[in-house]
C-alpha cells in the first residue's frame, strides 16, 4: 500500500496528540507511524505522521488537521524527502555464522553495536524504513534470535 508522510507543526501543549490521533481515527485513516517531538522553538512541536493511502486521501487530511485550533501547518512531504527511523534491538547470536553476519553489517555501517554481553548484542540502526525492513528480513533469514526490536517511527525532513 502507498504511504504518505505528513509533517505537522503544532502548539506544544497537552492534548494535541489526542486530537490529532483522534481525528485520524474518526476519518478512518490508517496510521503507519507517528512521532512527536519538540522543535528548536520549544513552544512548537512537530509530528511526523505516515499514513497508508493515496496522495488524494492524504490531501483530505490536510484541511481537516488544519481545522484543529492548535495546528499551525500541515505539509505532505515529497517522495524525495529525507526519511529516517531508528531501531534499537537486542539480538542473541548463537553461532559463528551469525556473529560474522553481524560483523559484516557493522562494517557496512548498517548497524552499530552498543554493547555485547555473552551471546547478547544490542545494536542501533538508523536508516530508511525500507532498509530497516530489509535488515530485519536478513537477520530472520540468518536465524538470529530477536530478543527485542524497537522502532522509533519515522521522522522526515524535506529537501
Amino acid at each position: 500500500m502507498e504511504k504518505q508522510i505528513l509533517s505537522v507543526l503544532v502548539e506544544n501543549k497537552p492534548g494535541v496528540l489526542f486530537k490529532i490521533s483522534g481525528l485520524l481515527r474518526r476519518k478512518r485513516f490508517q496510521i503507519d507511524s507517528l512521532t512527536v517531538g519538540k522543535t528548536a522553538d520549544e513552544t512548537v512541536a512537530q509530528f511526523t505522521i505516515v499514513i497508508l493511502g493515496t496522495l488524494e486521501e492524504a490531501q483530505k487530511t490536510v484541511g481537516m488537521l488544519n481545522r484543529i485550533v492548535d495546528v499551525f501547518s500541515v505539509e505532505i512531504l515529497d517522495k524525495d524527502s529525507i526519511v529516517r527511523e531508528i531501531v534499537l534491538a537486542r539480538l542473541e547470536l548463537d553461532s559463528e555464522n551469525q556473529r560474522i553476519f553481524l560483523q559484516e553489517a557493522e562494517q557496512k555501517i548498517l548497524v552499530q553495536a552498543l554493547y555485547q554481553k555473552n551471546k547478547e548484542i544490542c545494536v542501533e540502526l538508523i536508516d530508511t524504513s525500507q532498509k530497516i525492513e530489509e535488515f530485519l528480513f536478513s537477520i530472520k533469514k540468518a536465524n538470529i534470535k530477536i530478543l527485542e526490536w524497537i522502532r522509533s517511527g519515522v521522522i522526515a525532513i524535506k529537501k
Binding site: 490531501q59 483530505k60 481537516m64 488544519n66 485550533v69 495546528v71
Partner: protein
C-alpha cells in the same frame, strides 16, 4: 473575587444576557454567585434542553448562546445538544463543572472526562487549570465559537478553580472590561484562495447553458444574504436551497425552485440533476442533498464557495474552489459577469419554470385533517418575522418544503444530527430573539423534551406549541411501509392525552380535529403572548411524504408519489 465571579463577569462582558442551566455539586460556586450577576438564569429540566436552548439563541439571532451544567451526568446530558450544534456549525459556549483538580483522573464521584468525550463534537475544548486563565479563555471561547466556520466550544472548570481567589490585578482588568489578549497562534480562520479561482468561476459561468445555484447555511452564518441576492438577481441563475439555506433568498421568485434533496421539491431536484454547472454557495454537499454521488457529479461542472477549506472535495469532486467569506468572494463574480449573461440560459429558465408549475408541492387532500393541511394553515397565519422551529420527522420535511420566506434565521431545524426532541427547547432559546416562536413537533419528538413545558411556564416564555399527532413515528413508519413491507415494528405510538398534559403544566391547551378547529386554534395561538400555549392536532395517520429520493438513488429518480418519478 473568586473564579465564579470572574466567569460571570467575563460572560457579561461578552454580552451574555441569559444562561440555560441546571445546578449540581460541581457548579455550586457558580450558582452561589449567579444572583449577583445581571445574567438571567433559565432553569431547564434536563441539561439536553439547556444545550438546545443555548443553540436556539444562536440560531435565531447573531449572538452566542450559553449553557451550564454540573459535572458527570449533567455534563453528559449536554452532549446530544453539543453534537447537534457541531453538525450544524452553530456557535455556542457550553460550560461544565468538574471535580476538584486533585481528584481528576481518580474516577471521583460524578467525574467524566468531558474534554475527551467532546473532542469530536466541539470546535475546541478547554479544561481550565488556573483561575487566572479564565477571562482569557472566555474571550477565546466566544471568538472561536463565532468566527470562521462557527461551532460549539466547551469550557470545563474544576470546582476548585470556580472557588479559587482571583488576583487583585486580574480583578481590576475584569472590572474595567479590559480586553484579554488571546493566545491562539494556530487559529487561521480567514483563509482565502487566490484570485485565479474567481477567474475560473467567471469563465465557467459564462460558458454554462444550464447553471443552477445551491445555497445553504454558510450564506446565513456569514450574513451574506445581500451578496447572494445581488448575484442571483443580476445573473438570473435559477436557485435551490438546503434545509439551512431556507430564507436566505426570496423563495417566492419564479426561479426559486425550492429545497433540494431527499425530500426536496421535484423542480429543485430536476434542476440539479440536469444542470451543466452547479454553483454551491455555503453548502457542504452532504448525502441528504446529493443523492447517489456518481450521478450527482455526472455531467455538471461544480464551483464551490465556502469558508472551510476542508469541505472542498470532501463529498464531491469540485472543479473550482473559492475559499473565503462569501460576502467578499461572491461580489467579485457578480461584478465581473455581464448584465445580459442570462441570455445564455433563457431556455433553461423556461424549462425550469414549466417544471415548477408542472410539479407543485402536493396540496392538501379533502376530508380528514392532514398534517399538510395544518401546516398550510399555519403558514397563512405566521408573520414574516416569526420563527418556526421544526422537530424531526415527516412534519419537519413538510414544513421545510413549504416555508417560502424572505428572511433567514426564521426556519430552524436540526439538520446534521436530525435530533428528535429538538424543537421545544430550541424554540425556548429562540424566544429570546424577541420574535414570535412556533414550535412544531410530532407525537414522538414532543415526548423527548416534554419536561421543558414547565420551564416555559415558570419563566413565562411565549412559545406556541403545535403537536402533530399522527399516532406514529411517521417518518420511520413510511420507510417501513415502502421498504419493509409495512412491518410496523415499534412505530405505532401509544400516546397520552396531550391536551391534558398541557393543562397539567398550567398551559392553555387545545385539541383540533377538523379544518375549522384548526383555523380557530391557530388564530388563538397567534394572538396569545402571555406565555406558552399548546395545541394537539389529531391528523391522518398514514400520510406519506413526497417527493422522495430513496436511499441509493439519484436526484433524477425523485419519486413524486408511490408510483411516479420525475423521469416518467
Amino acid at each position: 473575587m473568586i473564579g465564579a465571579d470572574a466567569l460571570l463577569k467575563s460572560l457579561e462582558n461578552q454580552g451574555v444576557t441569559e444562561i440555560f442551566s441546571y445546578p449540581g455539586g460541581s457548579v455550586l460556586p457558580i450558582f452561589d454567585r449567579m444572583p449577583h450577576s445581571n445574567i438571567r438564569r433559565i432553569l431547564v429540566r434536563h441539561e439536553q434542553a439547556a444545550a438546545f436552548a443555548a443553540a436556539g439563541v444562536s440560531r435565531s439571532t447573531q449572538k452566542v448562546g450559553v449553557c451550564l451544567a454540573t459535572s458527570g451526568p449533567g455534563a453528559t446530558n449536554l452532549i446530544t445538544g453539543i453534537a447537534d450544534a457541531k453538525l450544524d456549525s452553530i456557535p455556542m459556549v457550553a460550560i461544565t463543572g468538574n471535580v476538584f483538580k486533585n481528584l481528576i483522573g481518580s474516577d471521583a464521584f460524578q467525574e467524566v472526562d468531558m474534554v475527551g468525550i467532546c473532542e469530536s463534537i466541539v470546535k475546541h475544548a478547554y479544561f481550565v487549570e488556573d483561575v487566572e486563565d479564565l477571562p482569557r479563555i472566555i474571550t477565546e471561547a466566544f471568538y472561536l465559537a463565532a468566527s470562521g466556520r462557527p461551532g460549539p466550544v466547551l469550557i470545563d472548570i474544576p470546582k476548585c478553580v470556580q472557588a479559587g481567589e482571583v488576583s487583585a490585578e486580574l480583578v481590576k482588568k475584569i472590572e474595567r472590561n479590559e480586553l484579554f489578549e488571546m493566545h491562539l497562534p494556530g487559529y487561521f480562520h480567514e483563509m482565502s484562495s487566490d484570485i485565479s479561482q474567481e477567474i475560473k468561476s467567471i469563465e465557467l459561468i459564462k460558458k454554462a447553458q444550464k447553471p443552477v445555484v445551491i445555497f445553504g447555511h454558510g450564506v446565513v452564518l456569514s450574513n451574506a444574504e445581500k451578496e447572494l441576492k445581488d448575484f442571483l438577481d443580476k445573473t438570473g441563475i435559477p436557485s435551490v436551497w438546503t434545509l439551512h439555506g431556507i430564507g436566505a433568498y426570496d423563495g417566492n421568485k419564479d426561479l426559486s425552485l425550492g429545497m433540494l434533496g431527499m425530500h426536496g421539491t421535484a423542480a429543485a431536484n430536476f434542476a440539479v440533476h440536469h444542470a451543466d454547472l452547479i454553483i454551491g454557495i455555503g453548502i457542504r454537499f452532504d448525502d441528504r442533498i446529493t443523492g447517489v454521488i456518481k450521478e450527482f457529479e455526472r455531467q455538471a461542472k461544480i464551483i464551490h464557495f465556502d469558508i472551510d477549506p476542508s469541505e472542498f472535495g470532501k463529498n464531491v469532486k469540485t472543479d473550482v474552489r473559492v475559499c473565503g467569506q462569501i460576502a467578499s468572494t461572491l461580489p467579485l463574480i457578480t461584478k465581473a459577469l455581464p448584465k445580459n449573461s442570462s441570455n445564455n440560459w433563457k431556455d433553461w429558465q423556461k424549462t425550469l419554470i414549466e417544471k415548477k408549475q408542472k410539479w407543485p408541492i402536493d396540496g392538501r387532500k379533502k376530508g380528514k385533517l392532514t398534517e399538510i393541511s395544518v401546516i398550510e394553515e399555519l403558514y397563512k397565519k405566521i408573520d414574516q418575522d416569526d420563527v418556526v422551529v421544526a422537530d424531526v420527522g415527516q412534519h419537519e420535511m413538510w414544513l421545510a418544503q413549504r416555508f417560502i420566506g424572505k428572511k433567514s434565521r426564521k426556519f430552524l431545524a436540526s439538520g446534521g444530527l436530525g435530533t428528535m426532541g429538538f424543537s421545544l427547547p430550541t424554540a425556548m432559546g429562540a424566544a429570546f430573539s424577541g420574535h414570535k416562536v412556533w414550535s412544531i413537533s410530532g407525537d414522538g419528538g414532543i415526548q423527548m423534551n416534554i419536561q421543558e413545558l414547565v420551564t416555559l411556564v415558570q419563566d413565562k416564555i411565549p412559545v406556541k406549541i403545535l403537536i402533530l399527532n399522527n399516532g406514529y413515528l411517521g417518518m420511520v413508519r413510511q420507510w417501513q411501509e415502502l421498504f419493509y413491507d409495512k412491518n410496523y415494528v415499534d412505530t405505532p405510538l401509544f400516546n397520552p392525552d396531550f391536551q391534558k398534559i398541557g393543562e397539567a403544566y398550567g398551559i392553555p391547551s387545545f385539541r383540533a380535529q377538523t379544518q375549522e378547529e384548526t383555523q380557530d386554534v391557530l388564530e388563538k395561538m397567534k394572538n396569545y403572548n402571555d406565555g406558552p400555549i399548546l395545541c394537539e392536532f389529531v391528523v391522518e395517520r398514514e400520510e406519506n411524504l413526497f417527493p422522495m429520493v430513496p436511499a441509493g438513488k439519484s436526484l433524477g429518480e425523485t419519486l413524486l408519489n408511490k408510483e411516479e418519478s420525475i423521469e416518467d
